[in-house]
């Protein structure tokens, strides 16, 4: 059952579910398919913006001593090009396919939290618009997409340029984490009967890995951005070397995020290729489980290689060796995928469609990018290549040759499913060859330019360096890429107006999305299909023998064995494998909501207010808080929301909360690591041993521990329907939380009186930010508890709502365990 307000599918189901065609229906939509389209259209617009930025840079570099743009504009162009392509183009392109296809491929009617999905999109759009608004006020970010400290400090970036960048990245990060949690729950908990984990399509697997990377990799960059924000807005010292700080802290935090981000960008494309190749080779994916394990390994290793971006900073031989080895190791699962894809094509009945062209193009181009990546894994070689055009060539082979080729493969593959019309195959192949030639003309020469010493990020160069010819070739190639993208736009518009109508299964597909009409109905499937194996629809069409044993994907696991037997029985009876037919009134759809866009507007206003006036921040924050409360309580009394148990037999909200807490581990882990790394580095006092009050903090620690006891007592009372006790313990927990906050207020004010503020020294900066963010979490927890208490007092918190108390309790206990760590590491350890 979906976590939504539900509307029955009847004669007016489309209208009831807000599936009209007007603008309002798109603004309030919570349908994963429409949100996928919104992501896709937005991504394409920002892709064009990023592409224009690239073309201007290439025009500037086409000739030596060129004056198309000046140095400042060039700085802004490469900063915005990188930021736009990573966060506003490639990531949302992937999000478009994830949104549209994942629920269809797992046989679900929507995502686990449709309104949260809409909220993620609108927050993304708010962040994207805010970032690009910087152009209109003449302050585009200009310190590089990597934002290295201390280029970003007030001293070297005094304008609002960097503020636009750091605030928009925080907004975009919030969107990504919310979407990540949503899709993890969706994939784990909304699979159709019979779809064990190993029966999931490889694209869904890669989506799952990517969502874990997002929820775990974004917190470190968020913390890094928070430090930067505090340095710029409140005068803290996180990146101030004169106060004892280390500039490399930023580089570490950025690349702890930045390298997994590479896999966030590339793995969805790998997933697409793993769907396209079997379809057009008419063979199962060779060694599919190994491809899946390789994707998981790439994701896991992705967290252990970040410092290979920093070999040039001088980390020392031990660190260099460790990160070099792990970086070389990550080439193994990547190579495994390449060989598996080639083996899938080998001996297949190849249909050379445009999608297959792009998929094969990815294999070739990404291999080139991967090989130059292995070269960077060697620190001595890397030292020669760092900050040269060789690196620019490398990562464009990964991100265009890999991600973009894969996304175009997906576009040609799934376009008929999304629009109900076919793209022009001939024009598509012309587009492919122009892109292939243009891309290689642009970036292959850059290997050579880098090797002969052309540095990155220079806005011009003198004649006679030997760089002229290949820069001109590179610029001509860039216009080839632009022509290719233009042809895709022409093809898309032609298809929407006059393209041939697509059947439900135009490619003779293998997975569940081809089992429903093109485009799918609002409810996706009339009957939820039962899953037979990884290529379940292929097997459904052609029988058991047609599907290789390798596509079985195991039969164990919840829903696997029993459902598998049931589907075999359906087959034996000559009927299509679906769950027992649902009566029309039993198909429920999520109702539209305008609260997601209002909350996103509030966030955007608050971000803008940070650059204008504190009153605007407060106004934006108020709109956000009010709309989020309305959002949370919108369907509180809907009985259809009471139980949201899914495939795992666990409530969606509980899976979501644990996933979020995993993300929070990374958030607080990064804050604590920074505090510990900077411990003892303050160049002026007061120092911790002079000021920390252990007796007072021991009392507040005891208070918080006891609040956890009251919280479990409250949950137990709600579960047994004892409303009196439930009220008492909920009130007690909130009260103890408030007492803890009182202790913290006392501690903060006494420190300020003793001369320790955020600005005093490195200890003050790290202490107040760490404990302050913990306090903010406690405050949020108190607000949550008070909300539950109010619901209870109004008679709206019964036994059936126990899970709501349980997830609030999980959050509360997490805040408690974070304090357990802080109390020991900050206060007790001498």
């Amino acid at each position: 059952m979906m976590a939504t307000h539900e509307v029955a599918l009847g004669h007016h189901a489309r209208e009831q579910a807000g599936v009209g065609s007007g603008v309002w229906s798109w603004i309030t939509t919570v349908d994963h398919k429409r949100i996928g389209i919104l992501y896709g259209v937005s991504a394409f617009v920002f892709f064009l913006v990023g592409g224009i930025e690239a073309l201007i840079m290439r025009m500037q570099l086409a000739r030596p001593d060129s004056h198309v743009v000046g140095a400042d504009t060039f700085n802004a162009l490469f900063t915005m090009h990188g930021t736009t392509m990573v966060f506003l183009a490639i990531m949302p392109f992937s999000a478009a396919f994830l949104n549209y296809m994942v629920p269809l491929m797992i046989g679900a009617r929507d995502v686990a939290f449709p309104r949260l999905n809409a909220l993620s999109y609108w927050i993304f759009l708010a962040g994207a618009i805010f970032l690009n608004a910087s152009f209109f006020v003449g302050a585009p970010p200009n310190a590089g997409w990597f934002g290295y400290a201390n280029l970003t400090t007030k001293q070297f970036s005094p304008g609002a340029n960097t503020d636009f960048w750091l605030l928009s990245l925080q907004v975009l990060g919030a969107s990504s984490v919310l979407a990540g949690v949503n899709f993890i729950v969706t994939i784990l908990n909304l699979r159709a009967p019979g779809m064990t984990l190993m029966r999931m399509p490889v694209f869904v697997w890669m989506a799952l890995v990517v969502q874990f990377l997002i929820v775990l990799a974004f917190p470190p960059i968020t913390v890094g951005l928070i430090f930067l924000m505090f340095d710029r807005f409140f005068g803290t010292h996180f990146y101030d070397v004169t106060a004892g700080a280390d500039l490399l802290l930023w580089q570490h935090l950025f690349w702890i995020f930045g390298h997994p981000e590479v896999y966030i960008l590339i793995l969805p494309a790998f997933g697409i290729v793993s769907e396209v190749l079997p379809t057009f080779a008419r063979k199962p994916l060779f060694g599919a489980p190994v491809v899946i394990y390789s994707g998981v390994l790439i994701g896991f290793f992705g967290f252990g290689v970040w410092s290979h971006h920093m070999f040039a900073v001088g980390m020392g031989p031990v660190a260099d060796a460790a990160f070099s080895i792990v970086t070389m190791l990550i080439a193994i699962p990547t190579g495994v995928k390449i060989f598996n894809w080639l083996a899938t094509l080998w001996g297949g009945a190849i249909r050379p469609t445009t999608a297959l062209h792009f998929a094969v193009g990815l294999i070739a181009m990404f291999t080139i990018g991967g090989l130059s990546g292995v070269m960077h894994a060697s620190p001595p070689v890397d030292l020669q290549q760092t900050d040269t055009y060789f690196v620019v060539a490398h990562f464009h082979y990964v991100l265009i040759g890999g991600s973009l080729f894969g996304l175009f493969a997906g576009a040609y593959y799934w376009w008929p499913k999304i629009t109900g019309r076919l793209l022009n195959e001939r024009l598509g192949r012309v587009q492919f060859w122009i892109l292939l030639i243009g891309f290689n003309a642009t970036f292959f020469p850059q290997h050579y330019l880098g090797a002969i010493g052309m540095p990155r990020r220079i806005y011009t160069y003198p004649a006679g360096m030997g760089w002229d010819f290949w820069n001109l070739v590179s610029t001509i190639g860039a216009f080839g890429i632009a022509l290719s993208v233009f042809l895709f736009a022409v093809n898309a518009i032609w298809s929407l107006r006059a393209g041939a109508m697509a059947s439900a299964d135009p490619w003779d597909g293998r997975t569940l999305e081809w089992r429903t009409s093109s485009p799918p109905p609002v409810h996706n499937f009339d009957d939820i299909p039962l899953v037979l194996g990884r290529d379940t629809y292929w097997r459904e069409k052609y029988g058991r023998r047609a599907a290789s044993a390798s596509t079985e994907g195991g039969s164990g696991g919840r829903g696997g064995g029993a459902a598998g037997a049931q589907t075999e029985a359906y087959f034996a009876a000559g009927r299509p494998p679906t769950s027992p037919p649902a009566a029309a009134h039993a198909i429920h759809l999520p109702a539209p909501s305008y609260w997601p866009i209002i909350a996103a507007i509030g966030i955007g206003v608050a971000a803008a207010g940070a650059l204008l006036h504190v009153a605007i921040v407060i106004a934006g924050a108020l709109v956000t808080v009010v709309s989020l409360f309305a959002f949370a309580l919108e369907h509180h009394r809907n009985p259809a929301h009471v139980h949201q148990d899914g495939t795992l037999g666990i409530d969606h909200r509980k899976v979501a909360m644990w996933t979020f807490l995993g993300s929070e581990c990374m958030f607080f882990g990064t804050l604590i690591a920074t505090y510990l790394a900077y411990r003892g580095r303050s160049v002026v006092g007061p120092h911790p041993h002079e000021i920390l009050n252990i007796p007072v903090t021991s009392a507040s620690t005891f208070d918080l521990l006891m609040s956890s006891l009251l919280m479990v007592l409250a949950l137990a009372a709600v579960q047994r329907g004892d409303r009196g006790q439930a009220r008492l313990w909920l009130f007690g927990t909130a009260l103890f939380g408030l007492i803890f906050l009182g202790f913290q207020a006392y501690e903060f004010t006494s420190f300020i009186h003793e001369g320790l503020t955020l600005r005093t020294n490195l200890f003050g900066s790290t202490f107040f930010v760490l404990t302050g963010f913990h306090g903010a979490h406690v405050s949020l927890g108190v607000a949550w508890l008070v909300t539950l208490l109010v619901l209870d007092l109004r008679g709206r918190l019964g036994r059936a709502d126990a899970v709501k108390v349980e997830i609030a309790g999980l959050y509360w206990h997490f805040v408690d365990i974070v304090w357990i760590a802080i109390f020991t590491l900050v206060y007790l350890i001498p």
Binding site: A8, G316, V318, G662, C665, M666, R679, F702, A800, T824
Partner: protein, 108 residues
């Protein structure tokens, strides 16, 4: 808008700990916190005070997670969702501290 299905009974929570267990855990947490405060003032424990404090903190952390957060009784999937990121976070914390120079082993 059509008829909404009737609310079914909430799930059984028989797998969770009893109130008595919660109270015992709270008493242990209180006792360990008192011990933590005690060991920092005992001079002969100074050489081992850091590992002692870390061990006691880890024990408190585990008690809350296992009993108050019910991870001891819940699905292993939930344990994986929490412990996996926790381990990654701890490894990254240690690596980051090493690389920034908080430990001597990786000193630059």
């Amino acid at each position: 808008m059509t008829e909404i299905p009737a609310v079914s009974e909430p799930h059984s929570d028989a797998g969770h700990a009893s109130v008595a267990t919660y109270v015992k855990v709270a008493l242990i947490l209180t006792g360990v916190t008192a011990l933590e405060i005690g060991v920092i003032s005992i001079r002969f424990l100074t050489p081992i005070v850091v590992p002692l404090l870390l061990a006691m903190s880890a024990a408190k952390f585990a008690l809350v997670v296992l009993f108050f957060m019910h991870l001891r009784y819940d699905s292993r999937v939930l344990s994986g969702l929490f412990i996996g990121p926790l381990v990654i976070a701890m490894v990254i914390v240690l690596a980051l501290m090493s690389l920034i120079g908080a430990f001597v082993t990786f000193g630059r």
